[in-house]
């Protein structure tokens, strides 16, 4: 048996009196694709952000490759974040840099990769997401789908071991959703470990190894896509599915 990449134990997170995450214990194995679904405001983003410590958990443990992140100093947290790429709903590309510069920045400033090899890697990644001719464009000139693919390439440039996606297609026009999901599917096929928050049920069914259904601060169900969609166990999940699968 291999070691889990991410292990979460009794994770809780509150904002003041708002107890968003109550008690979460889960594992992500290497190469697994986890899709997190659940009602809005259920704490999915907060959970994802706790994994790379963009949010500091109120209590509990988040371990990456056996190392508890909550006990680490700032510097070690920084270097662990390199290994967890994150893609946001709003892309968050750096508007003052070209596509190429967006991708090169972190490798050069964090890993001290030299300019030539950073450029080479960036071009390869752009080819992989199908945007090699947009290397010198500024983000403002890209469509949403293109911007999100650049964001994925930017995260991949750090050569991460896990990719976290927080509703990567929710801000896109419908006709652009496909191009982003295709890139993600390719990634999954290449064996990337992924935790994906999404409302794209088609993607969940076809790509996910496990579905985590999250509501009211708990992971209510942890099952395979087949089990979850054909035979949900909890009332909460049944109710949720009935609302989205009309």
């Amino acid at each position: 048996m291999t070691k889990p990449v991410i292990e979460v134990e009794s994770l809780a997170k509150s904002f003041g009196d708002n107890h968003v995450l109550k008690d979460i214990t889960e594992k992500v194995e290497p190469g697994q694709v986890i899709v997190v679904i659940g009602p809005s405001g259920g704490g999915k983003s907060t959970f994802l952000r706790c994994l790379n410590l963009l949010e500091t958990p109120t209590s509990g443990k988040v371990a990456f490759e056996g190392q508890d992140l909550t006990t680490l100093d700032t510097k070690s947290v920084n270097s662990l974040r390199e290994k967890m790429g994150m893609v946001f709903q709003g892309f968050n590309l750096f508007p003052n840099m070209t596509v190429l510069e967006n991708i090169k920045l972190a490798p050069m400033k964090v890993k001290n990769v030299d300019d030539a090899s950073a450029t080479k890697t960036a071009h390869e990644l752009l080819q992989r997401v199908g945007l090699e001719d947009h290397a010198d464009a500024f983000p403002s000139s890209l469509s949403g789908g293109q911007a999100q693919r650049v964001a994925i390439a930017r995260a991949l440039a750090m050569n991460p071991e896990v990719m976290l996606f927080d509703e990567p297609t929710s801000a896109l026009d419908p006709e652009m959703v496909g191009e982003v999901l295709n890139v993600m599917q390719e990634l999954a096929k290449d064996g990337m470990t992924m935790v994906v928050v999404t409302h794209e049920m088609g993607f969940a069914k076809s790509v996910a190894d496990r579905i985590w259904f999250m509501a009211d601060g708990y992971i209510q169900e942890d099952s395979t896509p087949d089990e979850f969609f054909s035979n949900p166990q909890t009332e909460r999940a049944k109710d949720f599915l009935s609302k989205i699968l009309i």
Partner: protein
């Protein structure tokens, strides 16, 4: 006689006297003032060179130099003490503070030994006994006889001077008008805003002999002799030094050197000065002014910007108690700087820090303006940083970038772009506000224009020249800034 002494400065002096009582006590405990000067080998004389023929700027061998009868006296004093004389120019208001804080060793600047001043400094014997005249337009000369002929009219003098008070107290039915500079007064006279200007005889003489449209009449003010006399000021308690210098002063009086040698010598400079009073003739003075204004502005913008970034980051520090303390400190600093006048800050740096390190006026000016500008820039930068979407920080941090790297490579470049117009405004404001350092004698544009004005006896022309020069500088600056603003507009 010049007697002006701003309330502000009085307060600052009082402050220094309480903060640094050591100096005074030290001087009283053991008076080695004479020995100290002789050991040092130089005697630094402070003067305010806008008061011909006592002291004024003249072009000697193509170089702008302070000349006048007070300078001659200073030279003689230094010679008799066996030391070298160094002349330091500053505004009259700053002289007493400069003396008390050790920037200068003595004041010779047509200063009269009033009882109020005697409380703070030690005076020598009187070296010159003056009197007052009233300058009028030549066309009106027949109308006026003396101070009592101006009923229903207006008499003017430098605000706060002895003659100013004399007009108020000793005339009736006459309006009193005060202005800060002698050249402004003459201008007011020539444009018939006032009917006569009371001033000291030698000054009146200088104006009249250099300006054919003016004439002078006796004032017949009723004055005690102490109010019309000039003496040299030293730090309080320098008894040995004062006694030694008194020997020189007594000799000057006995031989009547002032009337026989010093005033005629000063008059010669006035004559050569009046040969060409056209503005192009003074281009060098203006060029120096522009040069210093630009030096001050560019340096202050540069350092102010760095200080601003550090302050802005400090103001946003949170986490451990150390960072919280830093945040409070930075906030307090910004509030304090924004809540006090820049003029006071400039004086504080020059005189206050001057107690501990001897900073030249230019350096003090740049430090003060940088510190001031830094507080304002910090607020712009803080606003700029807050205007950058939080998602940018999250994206950078999720890539493993440290807080510092995120700030430097991602947030600050965007913040600066957002606040570029505000920073540009700050730069242009500084070009104009740098004029404040003229009060500590930095030869920037305003200071130079005052020199030219008292040199040429022309009131308006130098003002027009510097107005145009300031405009050229600010306009060029704003063009350059716009150019860069456009270049940054790619996203």
């Amino acid at each position: 006689m010049k007697k002006r002494f701003g309330l502000l400065l009085a307060i600052i002096v009082a402050l220094f006297m309480t903060v640094v009582p050591l100096n005074a006590q030290h001087a009283q405990a053991a008076d080695n003032s004479l020995a100290e000067i002789q050991k040092k080998g130089t005697l630094v004389m402070g003067t305010s060179p806008d008061y011909p023929p006592y002291e004024f700027q003249a072009t000697v061998n193509g170089k702008s130099t302070v000349v006048g009868m007070d300078i001659q006296i200073g030279k003689k004093v230094a010679k008799d003490l066996g030391v070298k004389l160094k002349v330091k120019s500053m505004s009259f208001d700053s002289l007493l503070v400069a003396l008390q804080t050790g920037k200068i060793d003595m004041i010779i600047s047509g200063m009269n030994p009033t009882p109020a001043r005697r409380k703070n400094v030690a005076f020598t014997h009187v070296y010159y006994q003056g009197g007052y005249s009233i300058v009028v337009n030549k066309t009106d000369k027949a109308k006026y006889k003396d101070k009592d002929s101006f009923k229903g009219g207006t008499l003017a003098a430098q605000t706060g001077t002895t003659q100013y008070n004399a007009i108020k107290k000793q005339t009736s039915g006459t309006k009193t008008k005060g202005m800060t500079s002698q050249s402004d007064l003459i201008l007011a006279l020539q444009s018939h805003k006032v009917d006569g200007v009371a001033m000291e005889k030698p000054s009146a003489q200088a104006y009249v002999s250099n300006n054919k449209s003016l004439a002078s009449i006796p004032s017949h003010f009723n004055m005690s002799s102490s109010a019309t006399s000039s003496a040299i000021a030293f730090r309080k308690g320098s008894t040995s030094l004062v006694n030694e210098v008194n020997k020189t002063v007594d000799q000057i009086k006995k031989q009547n050197l002032v009337k026989k040698q010093y005033l005629p010598a000063a008059g010669k400079y006035l004559k050569t000065n009046s040969v060409d009073t056209s503005m192009p003739h003074y281009w060098k003075a203006f060029a120096t002014g522009v040069e210093y204004t630009l030096i001050i502005t560019v340096c202050s913008v540069f350092f102010g910007f760095i200080i601003g970034i550090l302050l802005a980051l400090a103001r946003m520090a949170k986490g451990n108690p150390l960072k919280t303390a830093l945040r409070w400190l930075a906030t307090a600093y910004v509030e304090f700087i924004r809540g006090t006048p820049m003029m006071v800050q400039v004086m504080f740096v020059y005189f206050g820090l001057g107690l501990f390190v001897n900073l030249p006026a230019l350096t003090s000016g740049i430090i003060a303006i940088s510190l001031n500008s830094g507080a304002y820039v910090a607020e712009y930068i803080r606003g700029g940083i807050n205007s950058v979407n939080i998602g940018q920080t999250e994206a950078a941090r999720s890539l493993g970038m440290s807080n510092g790297a995120t700030m430097r490579y991602v947030i600050l470049p965007q913040a600066l772009k957002n606040i570029w117009p505000s920073l540009g405004n700050e730069f242009i404001t500084l070009i104009k506000d740098s004029s404040i350092v003229s009060i500590i004698g930095v030869t920037e544009l305003i200071y130079q224009s005052n020199i030219v004005r008292s040199d040429t006896y022309r009131g308006v022309a130098p003002i027009v020249v510097i107005m145009v020069l300031y405009f050229i500088m600010t306009f060029t600056a704003s063009r350059i800034l716009n150019y860069f603003e456009r270049r940054m507009q790619h996203d």
